[in-house]
């Protein structure tokens, strides 16, 4: 036992002396959550639009006021002629141009129909789409307002409610994903690198020719990273609760347990990677290509699994991250308990056992 503690102490020396990795280890979760929470979002805020108003009457004025009053848009300029439109898009600061036709109000009242031309910069299709929807709904609302007393013969009014995330905050979607990536990265990549580092530097040779048992070496390597991962998970959860007001509807305890389970799954993957690679570089490449990419692309973190082609949907099942994301979304957003998540939990548990057994089989007690 004394040897084992001595070994863990040495591991902590390695971790704390490598300032750069330490900084990445603790800086990355915070930076990523902030990035995904604030910067990289599907929501639009203060988008610059310009208006080309060819009629300048009461109606167009009201619509422009409504647009600039919303927090989504800022009307930065009023254009005088159609010719200016192209050059203003080329400058790139303006994402949309709203053009009101001549005699807008008159047309509306006399012919019953008035036209707005909406030009959007579709170099970023998602934003263009969103702008389009928002402006359309603002003008439709206005149309409804002035039509209040007129009863249309048939009407279908959808009353929609966004369940579990009423404000459609994209951070709710990113937090589970980022947490999964960070835990995967810290646990799997760092352990696999730290084990292969011993092989590469030749220190594994001395460790093998010592009374330390191979399992003690492995567990000794893993324990410090379990600690670091738990701290990271806590930081991420606290950040998402206090800064992004993300709720934890379900049990905090269950969330903790499931996170620890996923940490262990990732660690066992890390050990498996280390048994397969001889150099730190190989371990890093396998971790990045073999873990990061599938986690980002196939786990349902960014791209919905249901809309993938069937072969990819099948592949996504073997990715532990997919199941963990379902679990945290369930616990944090839906507030469901183990009763609903036992299947996913069991799958993660099974994967962990499989990885551990495989690593034990592949672990070399000698040099080869």
């Amino acid at each position: 036992m004394k040897k084992f503690i001595g070994f863990i102490k040495k591991e902590f020396y390695h971790i704390f002396r490598d300032r750069r990795s330490l900084f990445i280890l603790f800086g990355m979760p915070i930076a990523q959550i902030m990035l995904f929470g604030f910067a990289i979002t599907n929501e639009i805020n203060n988008v610059n639009v310009v208006v080309l108003d060819l009629s300048k009457d009461v109606s167009t004025n009201t619509i422009v006021n409504k647009i600039s009053a919303s927090s989504y848009f800022t009307v930065t300029q009023l254009l005088e002629s159609q010719n200016e439109v192209e050059s203003i898009f080329k400058k790139g600061k303006v994402k949309a141009v709203i053009v009101f036709e001549k005699d807008f109000d008159q047309q509306m009242r006399n012919a019953g129909i008035a036209k707005i031309q909406l030009l959007t910069d579709a170099t970023d299709p998602n934003t263009a789409n969103t702008i389009n929807n928002y402006i359309t709904s603002i003008t439709q609302n206005y149309a409804k307002e002035i039509n209040q007393d007129i009863q249309l013969p048939f009407q279908i009014v959808p009353e929609s409610r966004m369940v579990f995330n009423p404000e459609i905050k994209s951070v709710f979607m990113f937090v589970p994903g980022v947490m999964t990536i960070i835990l995967m990265l810290v646990s799997a990549m760092m352990t696999s690198i730290s084990i292969t580092k011993e092989k590469e530097l030749g220190t594994m040779e001395i460790l093998l020719v010592s009374p330390l048992k191979p399992y003690q070496v492995i567990i000794g390597k893993v324990i410090p990273y379990v600690f670091l991962s738990i701290i990271n998970a806590l930081v991420i959860i606290l950040l998402s609760i206090f800064i992004f007001k993300m709720p934890v509807q379900g049990s905090f305890f269950l969330l903790g347990l499931e996170s620890v389970l996923f940490i262990i799954t990732s660690l066992s993957l890390g050990i498996l990677i280390s048994t397969m690679s001889k150099t730190q570089q190989t371990a890093m490449m396998i971790s990045l290509m073999g873990l990061m990419l599938p986690v980002i692309l196939l786990s349902g973190f960014i791209f919905p699994i249901n809309s993938m082609p069937l072969p990819l949907q099948v592949i996504s099942n073997i990715i532990p991250a997919k199941w963990f994301i379902i679990i945290i979304k369930g616990v944090m957003l839906k507030g469901v308990g183990l009763l609903y998540l036992w299947k996913e939990t069991l799958i993660l548990l099974g994967m962990t056992v499989f990885f551990i057994l495989l690593s034990i089989r592949k672990y070399k007690i000698r040099l080869e």
Binding site: K3, K10, Y13, L201, E205, I206, L367
Partner: protein, 300 residues
């Protein structure tokens, strides 16, 4: 017998690293494996320290078989690999403490063993191992291999890349350790170090050429060796090789070592031959054989 190796063979893919190696090392002996790079020395060390499994043959260390007694051997030997294998980001003291701890002992308990060596690196005990000079790194590695009081010490090329003064000091330390009853198996590519061992095995291409004490190996050398020097060393070698009665020709420091196969060799004849072919400042003088000469003789 402290170490016993019987008909060990090992090959990697296409290379035969060890071919039917057998030798024995007595308790308290300082035994040297002498041979060039790629001779198979490291492979042999790894088999004896249970890091590799031989294809054929058997070996035992202190009575423990290298296969069945793997754990016993791992618990009781000291091993210093050829490549510097300590933790570069740990300080001198932390490295030493770590190796003491994993062998279930303390630095204080076995300090007497390493004292001579450790006092030399103690002024730098708070320096990281990665920042030490080559000689000091090797001294620290030796301390770490010794700290658990091993019965057998395996040192794989401990002086490679170390300056001549530190090399000399290192061998003096090995001599002192030997007096404390520790069996030492050491490998080196330096022939001058071979003379400091009790017995040596000359090894090349996975085969043992000869096993004996350094004195006997030198004594067995049949031919008279001549140091030959001339103005143009390059031309000198080709001329010597072309000499009708030449037996062996190889560079040796600033000289070329020459041996002749005929019994009636005369220095004057060779001198005349070389001078006739345009060489100047010719020196020819007999010289005592060294282990390197014995090695060259056996290797050919």
């Amino acid at each position: 017998m402290s170490i016993s190796v019987r008909n060990i063979s090992k090959s990697f893919k296409k290379v035969q690293a060890l071919d039917q190696i057998s030798f024995e090392v007595a308790q308290g002996e300082l035994f040297g494996l002498i041979g060039p790079d790629g001779a198979g020395k490291t492979t042999l060390f790894r088999i004896l320290t249970t890091l590799l499994v031989a294809d054929e043959g058997s070996a035992s260390v202190f009575g423990f078989d290298v296969i069945d007694g793997m754990n016993d051997i791992r618990n009781s030997v000291g091993y210093m690999p050829g490549k510097f294998s300590l933790y570069q980001d740990l300080t001198v003291e932390e490295n030493l403490t770590f190796f003491a701890t994993i062998f279930d002992t303390t630095v204080a308990e076995n300090y007497h063993l390493i004292e001579d060596i450790y006092v030399q690196i103690e002024p730098f005990k708070n320096r990281r191992a990665g920042a030490l000079s080559g000689g000091m790194k090797q001294k620290l590695a030796l301390c770490c291999a010794l700290i658990h009081q091993p019965k057998v010490l395996f040192l794989d090329e401990p002086t490679t890349g170390v300056d001549p003064v530190s090399r000399k000091e290192f061998w003096e330390m090995l001599k002192r350790l030997q007096q404390k009853g520790i069996t030492i198996l050491v490998s080196t590519p330096y022939m001058d170090e071979a003379a400091l061992c009790d017995r040596i095995a000359l090894i090349q291409d996975g085969k043992i050429l000869d096993i004996n004490s350094p004195e006997e190996i030198v004594a067995k050398h049949q031919h008279v060796i001549y140091d030959v020097k001339a103005s143009n060393p390059h031309q000198l070698i080709s001329l010597l090789k072309a000499y009708p009665t030449a037996h062996s020709v190889y560079p040796f420091g600033e000289y070329v070592h020459y041996t002749d196969q005929s019994g009636e060799f005369k220095q004057e004849d060779l001198h005349a031959y070389l001078a006739h072919n345009g060489l100047k400042e010719i020196v020819i003088q007999p010289t005592p054989a060294t282990i390197e000469d014995a090695f060259m003789e056996l290797a050919n």
